[in-house]
């Protein structure tokens, strides 16, 4: 799970209001800072690779070239081949899709369920809140990676199950965030007004309160995504996530570790791709956070 790490204190608070800033203005502010711009551009590049990757990859990622096992980088195989003679470059390109999709799916799922849980417990309060909050307390009693491993033990290893586990370990953060801002907004005049005209609870929660904490949720999604990608890759590395022959950066590194003495370059490329994606997404998250609300502190993906 992401550790909150304030990194920069140099920004002066912007006098213009932070919440509800139109997307175009946020984008402009995001691209103005060098870090935010670099992160955004790199992130878009990786997304492009993930989308068009299968068309541009030189080989089929599961095509065997048994005459060229563990080949070093060459003109034919730019990044060399793995233990079955599969092209590493093509596999890394396909891995981009696996990793980015894991980040998007896990964070999206955690966001949707966490927001709903946070709205309900923050708005309704009482025993419902008490029960829901206990659930988050219980989840937070486990170190994140242990919780993820435990969940995968129950539902079985596999890509989608690993993504689900990563979503679950991110749930409490979203739920607590939304719960806190719902409680803060609950007594505001515009919420009272909605209640006075007889709007049902569900409408007040999702149409009146939710839009006002959406920017917080979006920022939290950006912060959680790189961490989610790292945890999914770790699960794959441990053999609990995406399984061979699917090319994921995590399980490529597991395989690479068995052949380090014969082919040291094998272990370099998948990890480099993973690290670059996480750095880009962290920069993007930092930038987005500043662009939406310069007063908030920053966070980065970190995992032990």
């Amino acid at each position: 799970m992401a550790t909150s790490i304030p990194a920069s204190n140099s920004k002066k608070p912007d006098s213009r209001a932070a919440v509800g800033r139109p997307a175009a203005a946020v984008l402009r502010r995001l691209m103005r800072e060098r870090k935010g711009a670099v992160g955004t551009v790199c992130m878009l590049l990786f997304i492009l690779v993930a989308i068009v990757g299968p068309r541009v990859a030189p080989y089929n990622p599961i095509e065997l070239h048994l005459e060229a096992q563990l080949a070093p980088p060459s003109a034919r195989f730019w990044w060399g081949t793995d233990e079955l003679g599969r092209d590493i470059l093509s596999r890394v390109i396909h891995g981009a899709r696996v990793s980015l999709a894991a980040g998007v799916l896990a964070v999206g799922l955690a966001g949707i369920v966490g927001v709903a849980g946070g709205l309900v417990s923050g708005y309704l309060g009482g025993w419902i809140d008490a029960i829901i909050s206990r659930v988050w307390d219980t989840l937070l009693a486990f170190p994140a990676i242990f919780l993820a491993i435990g969940i995968v033990t129950i539902i079985g290893p596999g890509y989608l199950n690993a993504v689900l586990a990563v979503a679950i370990i991110n749930l409490p953060t979203f739920a607590r965030l939304v719960r806190a801002s719902t409680i803060a907004l609950r007594g505001k005049d515009f919420v009272e007004a909605a209640r006075a005209i007889g709007a049902p609870n569900a409408r007040i929660m999702f149409r009146t309160i939710l839009p006002n904490c959406l920017s917080l949720v979006v920022v939290q999604m950006a912060i959680a995504a790189p961490a989610a990608i790292l945890v999914e890759a770790s699960l794959s590395y441990l053999g609990l996530g995406s399984q061979p022959p699917t090319a994921s950066w995590g399980n490529m590194l597991t395989a690479a570790q068995s052949y380090l003495y014969r082919s040291p370059t094998y272990g370099i490329f998948p990890g480099a791709a993973l690290t670059l994606v996480v750095i880009a997404l962290n920069y993007f998250a930092d930038g987005l956070q500043d662009a939406i609300d310069p007063r908030r502190t920053r966070a980065g993906a970190q995992m032990t």
Binding site: I5, F142, I145, Q257, P270, T275, A301
Partner: protein, 317 residues
């Protein structure tokens, strides 16, 4: 104060209770039949039934949970299905390994992370600051399993200086075994010191901008005295939190790093037992990890309240 501490400890009990239920049901719901594992694949149905009765698997779930919980409270974690050894004994062997790894990497990351964080803060926006901030971004993003593989490529494959995996041989001297510790420690320290450098830098910048630092400067104190005596002392308050959080995380075993180097600590023990469906060991290690994690988090909270008198007791969650 004592009443407050006791109350906070009492508050842990429901969470611990719920966590123990989760841990128990992980095992109940997980695929695979423990009786089948201990009785072997060729057991007859009668043998299986006998094995089930011996392990207490034929009783209703609430009864099994109650028996298990009372065993745990009495520190009887049962026997490993595979190793046929007491779980407490296996955990007892893994704890010193994890402790060694945790302490060494904490010391290393504090020794490096704190000074560079302070330097970066004192010379904010300098080239040095940019280098520290940039490196800490990389350190935060580096997956521990990849960094571990890079270290193995460099120091085991290329230079053949260090063994690529294991914890060494207890019969050999500690200097010999120290070589097994180097790469895991560096791997963990890399991400930790990035966290510390970032956190210390940010806390120091806040402290250096505070009124009391301006007052100290106005009194005519030198840079060194201002930084060390005034800013640093106050900056350490928020830093204690992150120190404790990282420590608690590591005590539970650095799961991935221990896996990379086949380092037999708590993390590797739990992952191996999960992969082997050795449920008593899974339950035991998870209970230990959760207890440690909760205790460390509570200690951090209480220390924070103690260091910063402005944090009111009631507010400390």
């Amino acid at each position: 104060m004592i009443r407050h501490v006791l109350l906070r400890i009492l508050h842990l009990i429901p969470t611990l209770f719920l966590a123990s239920m989760v841990i128990f049901f992980i095992i109940v719901k997980a695929p695979g039949d423990p009786a089948q594992i201990t009785a072997g694949p060729e057991a007859t149905p009668e043998q299986l039934a006998a094995e089930r009765a011996r392990l207490g698997l034929d009783k209703p779930l609430p009864v099994r949970y109650a028996v298990w919980l009372s065993d745990v409270v009495h520190l009887n974690l049962g026997y490993s299905l595979l190793a046929r050894r007491q779980v407490t004994q296996m955990i007892g062997e893994a704890i010193p390994q994890t402790l060694r790894l945790t302490l060494a990497s904490m010391v290393l990351s504090i020794l490096i992370g704190f000074p560079i964080g302070i330097l970066a803060a004192v010379r904010q926006n300098s080239r040095l600051d940019a280098v520290v901030t940039g490196l800490s971004s990389v350190g935060l993003a580096l997956p521990s399993f990849w960094l571990g593989i890079l270290l193995i490529i460099t120091f085991s494959v290329r230079f053949r200086w260090l063994p690529p995996s294991g914890v060494g041989d207890p019969d050999q001297g500690s200097w010999y075994n120290l070589r097994y510790l180097v790469m895991p420690v560096v791997t963990i320290a890399a991400s930790n010191l990035a966290v510390f450098a970032r956190f210390v830098r940010s806390a120091m910048i806040d402290a250096l901008a505070a009124d009391y630092v301006r007052t100290a400067r106005a009194k005519g104190l030198g840079q060194r005295a201002v930084v060390v005596r005034h800013a640093l002392k106050n900056a350490m308050i928020p830093v204690v939190t992150i120190l404790g959080i990282q420590f608690g995380r590591l005590l539970g075993g650095a799961v991935v790093t221990e896996a990379v180097f086949a380092y037999s600590g708590i993390g590797r023990l739990s992952v191996l037992s999960i992969l082997n469906r050795d449920y008593p060991v899974v339950q035991g290690t998870l209970m230990l990890v959760v207890c440690l994690f909760l205790i460390v988090n509570l200690t951090v909270d209480l220390t924070y309240g103690y260091l910063d008198p402005r944090v009111k007791l009631e507010e400390a969650r």
